[in-house]
């Protein structure tokens, strides 16, 4: 005989009901305001699927990915340089971060785009060309966004590396591993646990900051949206279209980020918490066993 189940009356949370009602009221008011505005909501779904917007979203996606990769690679290099025992190396890294973090990314984008004012000709010895021909909107956007990102990433990577226990480096050195092997095989993989979450935030920021690349004529999502709105006069509608795309991109990425963080949490806890999908499956299974108690063991 199982013991008698407790049947108690749960505590009533009146505050939650009040707060819930207030939220609903505010949402209704905002909804009314938007529906009374002169916005043609009907055209939004079509524009979301519009070819021009689609290619803009694609450009946004790939410039932000490439700029982030550039920022990440350069950020790791800068972080290692910053922690170097060589004073020249560490000062160079410090100066880079000071310069690129201390100036607006908008200014940096415009500077790269107009770099021909300083270097009219690009001469690498084996390669010589007019700078204006080299500095395409794409390259200006990539350098402007990526080099700026590197300054932020280097600080994140540095904090991550410093969070790894010194005993790890010692154990690795004691086994005969060199500094670079130790960094690559022992320190960085552990630092990733600290690095991944803020890097995810950086990437979400990058997705949105890439909209600034319209100033260098790079045809990402925001430039496409404003181009359309200036001819079709559907200004607010196009803002909606762009926002929908930005939200979709950031949402998809957030899911990826969750799994990435899980991957790097490997070994840090005895048991990883189940993923939402695993949890769903388990709940469904439990639900099933409630209905057929004879199956449950």
């Amino acid at each position: 005989m199982p013991p008698e189940q407790i049947k108690a009356i749960p505590v009533r949370h009146y505050g939650r009901w009040v707060a819930g009602a207030a939220v609903v009221a505010i949402l209704v008011l905002i909804g009314i305001a938007f529906s009374n505005a002169k916005i043609n909501y009907g055209i939004i779904p079509d524009y979301v699927k519009d070819g021009t917007i689609l290619s803009g979203a694609w450009h946004t996606l790939y410039i932000s990915v490439l700029a982030m990769v550039l920022g990440l690679v350069l950020g790791v290099i800068l972080a290692v340089m910053r922690m170097s025992s060589n004073p020249v190396t560490s000062t160079v890294a410090w100066f880079y971060v000071w310069l690129f973090r201390g100036t607006p990314v908008l200014v940096q984008l415009l500077l790269w785009y107009n770099i021909s004012l300083v270097f009219p000709v690009l001469n690498l010895g084996f390669y010589k060309n007019d700078m204006n021909a080299v500095m395409t909107p794409f390259l200006a956007a990539l350098l402007g966004l990526g080099l700026n990102e590197a300054a932020y990433m280097s600080e994140i990577v540095r904090a991550g590396i410093q969070s790894v226990d010194e005993g790890q480096t010692e154990a690795s050195h004691a086994l005969g591993m060199t500094r670079s092997q130790t960094l690559r095989r022992v320190v960085l993989p552990q630092a990733m646990r600290m690095i991944v979450p803020p890097t995810g935030n950086e990437y979400i920021n990058m997705l949105k900051t890439s909209s600034l690349a319209y100033v260098v004529q790079f045809s990402e999502l925001m430039k496409r949206a404003t181009d359309i709105s200036s001819t079709s006069l559907a200004v607010a509608e196009m803002f909606f279209v762009a926002s929908i795309w930005y939200l979709m991109l950031t949402s998809v990425f957030s899911v990826g980020q969750y799994y990435l963080e899980r991957h790097y949490a490997r070994g840090s806890t005895r048991n990883l918490p189940p993923t939402p999908l695993q949890r769903l499956r388990k709940n469904l299974r439990m639900f099933g066993s409630f209905r057929r108690p004879e199956v449950a063991r």
């Binding site: 005993g167 004691a174 086994l175 005969g176 591993m177 790097y264 070994g267 840090s268």
Partner: protein
């Protein structure tokens, strides 16, 4: 006979495995080691005891050049540690040369320092694959064998966080043995362990000693020193106060400092 390692490279060269001549070490103004002279012979289990802060760990870390000595000479198997001597000038070894010297010296830490992002097997495979560029299959086979020998053949896929302290320390010993070292350094390998786990680690070390591994062991386990040790050194305040056979020193200490230390720990 347990045969933990397949055969320890015998030092045929005839010189001591470790030889310290007037080794000094300072951290800034703090003078920690004040002239250490000692010799560790091949196949010997050499125990280091002494009060906290006396410089035992510091000396051990000098042997594999994790710390640079400030004065004196330190040799491992006849080679100067961390330097090359030409005439009367010393030249610092390059990073890769220091790393090469460390390959032959295994070290086991008080706090295990296993790589937490790798399984037990991966921890043991890491150095042979990365440092010796050994084929993965070969390294895996040896890692499996070493883990079997330390009694963890069924835990190869576990991450360190999933292992008890005693198990982690045994993995750490297997990891050091994977490089087939000629000398093993132990820095209080059991003092971070719960009392009931100390035995399993000491058993592994005893097997290793029986196999003829040269071992320098910093320890508070006087029982281990007495049973397994071949020589024992009592250090205090950066100097060797007394040395001899463990049973001699432990039962019949000559110096006041040794007596008062032993009266506290025994």
């Amino acid at each position: 006979m347990s045969n933990l390692t397949k055969g320890i490279a015998p030092s045929t060269s005839g010189h001591p495995m470790v030889r310290a001549e007037g080794v000094h070490k300072s951290f800034g103004l703090a003078h920690i080691l004040k002239g250490i002279d000692l010799e560790v012979n091949p196949r010997e289990v050499f125990c280091l005891i002494g009060p906290s802060g006396s410089g035992k760990s510091t000396f051990l870390r000098c042997i594999n050049h994790l710390e640079k000595i400030s004065a004196g000479r330190l040799y491992v198997d006849g080679d100067l540690v961390g330097y090359r001597q030409k005439g009367d000038k010393l030249y610092e070894l390059k990073e890769t040369e220091v790393a090469a010297q460390r390959r032959d010296i295994g070290m086991v830490f008080q706090r295990f320092n296993l790589f937490p992002h790798m399984t037990a097997l991966e921890n043991v495979m890491e150095a042979p694959v990365q440092v010796k560029r050994e084929a993965k299959a070969v390294a895996r086979e040896r890692a499996q064998r070493l883990l079997d020998r330390v009694g963890l053949g069924d835990r190869t896929g576990h991450y360190p966080a999933q292992l008890s302290g005693g198990q982690q320390q045994r993995v750490a010993i297997a990891r050091a043995l994977a490089m087939e070292p000629k000398l093993m350094l132990f820095d209080e390998p059991t003092s971070a362990l719960d009392p009931e786990l100390v035995g399993e680690v000491l058993d592994v070390m005893r097997d290793l000693a029986e196999d003829g591994m040269t071992m320098v062991v910093v320890t508070h386990e006087m029982g281990f020193a007495r049973e397994v040790g071949d020589s024992l050194v009592f250090m205090d305040d950066g100097v060797v106060v007394e040395s001899g056979h463990p049973r001699e020193v432990l039962t019949n200490p000559q110096h006041e400092r040794t007596k008062s230390f032993l009266s506290k720990v025994l």
